[in-house]
């Protein structure tokens, strides 16, 4: 018995020596600039963007894991691939030393809750008669379903911040992911660490804001054409296609786009990420107005500062995210300030055309299955979109809160 133990001991010693020869030891203990130990850097060469530089932040504050180990199986314990995912963002991006409370606020913002879409659907479909408390988060937890919610889960369920980035193929692969849904710019090098940015490119916004009002398309001068791909040129479709296969044609873009401004130049963080308040509809969370900058003082309707607005030598200018300076034109004294136009919103005159999908319809095919994008399961009943016509036309004007505004049906 004891001899057996001794022989086993010798075998274990041989194993220990063999294991050591197979191992790559770190050259030294890796420290960040603040003196925190970060052994991940012994193997990982990734270089994220400046504010999250590897020498300053390291890997584990965002991606968790065990920063004191180098054995892969130990070091990668509790690893988080997407640190921006809202399920973990409180302890990754939102940790006390970094961006505290921000994820908590973002979770209450409309891009995470989708309350506007859910409320409108449920009320118009007769399932509710007062503002619904349902949010994407509550639906994910409860699994609650109804006809309107089934439609939401299958056709709208990928346009929110809770959507798991990279879980699905095709155009869905780039969507969602919490903080990184907006703040991530891919690295062109294969397997390179993506960059995190405050200069959020339009294409990040356009991944979702391309339906209903189609604001991100129109802004860039893209018009979603009917689904034929005409005019045919050189034996192929003449129209450009979006990632999800829809055809678009080029029209004159918004003046702000032409001047080089991106969405987040005007739509400030209080508006997009929220301030911890929970709204039902987008109109409640919108606070930037044309007159905030044009003839205004650079403050939104809720008093927040628009960082791009500056006073230079007595005149108002706008400095965009690329540090380019644009002069700001005040509203025309006669056309805009005239008493007869006092009820007009700026858009009523300046938005000459908007996409209009009066011919857009949906139908439910009962005997087919479709992916429920919240639960990730195929369930009975498939929703299909079809349309007779889609136009890019002068908008319908309507009366909303004592102003004449444009109405854009989606």
């Amino acid at each position: 018995m004891k001899k057996g133990f001794i022989i086993l001991g010798i075998c274990l010693l041989i194993f220990v020596v063999w294991r050591e020869t197979q191992r790559k030891r770190a050259p030294h203990v890796f420290l960040t600039t603040s003196g925190r130990i970060e052994m991940c850097l012994a193997c990982h060469q990734e270089r994220p963007s400046k504010p999250h530089a590897r020498e300053v932040v390291g890997c584990s504050p965002c991606h968790n894991g065990q920063p004191l180990r180098i054995d892969k199986s130990l070091a990668h314990k509790n690893l988080i691939f997407n640190a921006g995912d809202l399920h973990v963002a409180d302890s990754s991006c939102g940790q006390p030393a970094c961006h505290p409370r921000r994820p908590e606020w973002v979770k209450k913002s409309l891009m995470a809750t989708n309350r506007g879409i859910i409320d409108t659907l449920r009320r118009y479909w007769g399932e509710a008669n007062k503002p619904c408390p349902d949010t994407v988060e509550s639906l994910l937890k409860s699994g609650k379903n109804s006809l309107a919610l089934d439609y939401f889960r299958k056709l709208c369920g990928s346009c929110h911040l809770w959507f798991p980035r990279g879980k699905y193929q095709g155009f869905l692969a780039q969507k969602g992911g919490g903080c990184v849904a907006c703040h991530l710019v891919p690295n062109k090098k294969p397997k390179g660490h993506p960059f995190l940015t405050l200069n959020i490119p339009i294409r990040n916004c356009a991944r979702c804001h391309n339906r209903s009002g189609r604001i991100a398309l129109t802004y860039q001068g893209l018009y979603e054409a009917e689904g034929y791909g005409t005019p045919y040129l050189h034996g192929d479709f003449g129209a450009d296609t979006l990632l999800d296969g829809r055809f678009v044609q080029h029209i004159p873009p918004d003046i702000h786009f032409k001047k080089g401004l991106v969405c987040v130049d005007c739509h400030i963080k209080e508006e997009t990420m929220g301030t911890g308040k929970s709204y039902v509809h987008m109109v409640q969370s919108l606070e930037v107005q044309c007159t905030s900058c044009h003839g205004g003082t650079g403050h939104t309707s809720k008093g927040h500062i628009i960082p791009g607005f500056k006073k230079e030598k007595g005149r108002s200018v706008f400095i965009d995210h690329h540090q380019k300076v644009h002069p700001l034109k005040p509203p025309l004294p006669i056309a805009c300030r005239h008493p007869v136009h006092k009820n007009l919103s700026c858009q009523a005159c300046h938005n000459r055309h908007v996409p209009q999908c009066f011919g857009c319809h949906i139908r439910r095919v009962a005997n087919e299955k479709q992916l429920d994008k919240l639960s990730g399961k195929e369930t009975p009943g498939a929703w299909e979109e079809f349309r007779s016509y889609m136009r890019y036309k002068t908008p319908t004007l309507g009366w909303y809160k004592n102003k004449i505004v444009i109405l854009v049906p989606g």
Partner: protein, 268 residues
């Protein structure tokens, strides 16, 4: 007396000491956590010897505990003079203290908090608290320097004391040492030695045997929860020589209550 148990304690303590000597070379008390991580990740065979040190130390405590229970069951106290019994009993808190300082001197999340708590507990002892703290901890002023000294010196004392005791009868057989070395090696190959990265959490757990005290510290003043209550069993063991029944009953009650607190602490 089951011989394997008493020789087990000696063998594992010897293995812990030898492996401790090995890893004390790359260890720097000036930057304890950095050098501990260095042992774990940079030094060849470092993680193996650290785990061997860790598990042989844990095993020493467990075996010594079993050894004590066995001595109580077999009424060994009555067959020796009271001072000899008292000295033997002292080995239990000494080993526990060595193990505890072992956590402190690695200076990770667990060790750092454990050191700070130990310092404040020592200070809560009336009159001599300040001197005790100066002798054993003082981590807030002096880092892990003093716990490190105690870890080393006390091991020497205990090994010398118990070694004299046991080797007086017979030398530890090389075969026994080999067998226990195999057991410790097997344990260290299955599990890594614990090491917790400093983090911004709202819950830190101490060493496993300390969890009961940690739980109690939430409700009672430091002196009662951290000094008086944990020293009860030692007092009982001393008293066992004179009042075996009362001491046994108190020990059982204490063990039961500590078991409950330990579970409560572990489940947090």
């Amino acid at each position: 007396m089951t011989k394997w148990l008493s020789w087990g304690v000696t063998a594992t303590l010897l293995i812990a000491t030898l492996s401790g000597i090995i890893i004390s070379y790359p260890y720097h008390e000036e930057h304890p956590l950095i050098s501990t991580v260095g042992i774990e990740t940079v030094v060849p065979f470092g993680d193996f010897f650290r785990a061997l040190h860790y598990f042989s130390g844990q095993l020493t405590l467990l075996l010594l505990w079993m050894h004590t229970v066995e001595a109580l069951i077999k009424r060994r106290a009555q067959s020796r003079p009271w001072w000899s019994w008292s000295i033997l009993i002292l080995s239990l808190p000494a080993i526990l203290f060595i193990l505890f300082t072992g956590y402190v001197i690695r200076d990770d999340e667990t060790g750092f908090s454990a050191g700070r708590i130990a310092e404040h507990l020592a200070l809560s002892i009336p009159w001599v608290g300040k001197y005790m703290n100066h002798l054993f901890f003082l981590v807030s002023q002096d880092g892990v320097h003093r716990p490190w000294l105690i870890h080393v010196y006390l091991t020497g004392l205990v090994l010398g004391g118990t070694g004299l005791w046991h080797f007086r009868l017979r030398l530890l057989s090389l075969l026994d040492l080999g067998c226990w070395a195999t057991i410790c090696t097997a344990l260290s190959l299955v599990w890594p030695a614990s090491l917790v990265a400093p983090q911004e959490t709202t819950l830190v757990k101490g060493p496993w045997f300390f969890l009961g005290v940690q739980e109690l510290l939430r409700y009672l003043p430091p002196f009662w929860a951290g000094i008086a209550y944990p020293s009860l069993p030692v007092v009982c063991l001393f008293g066992y020589y004179w009042r075996p029944r009362l001491a046994t009953l108190s020990l059982l009650l204490w063990a039961l209550s500590y078991g409950i607190f330990l579970l409560m602490g572990a489940c947090r």
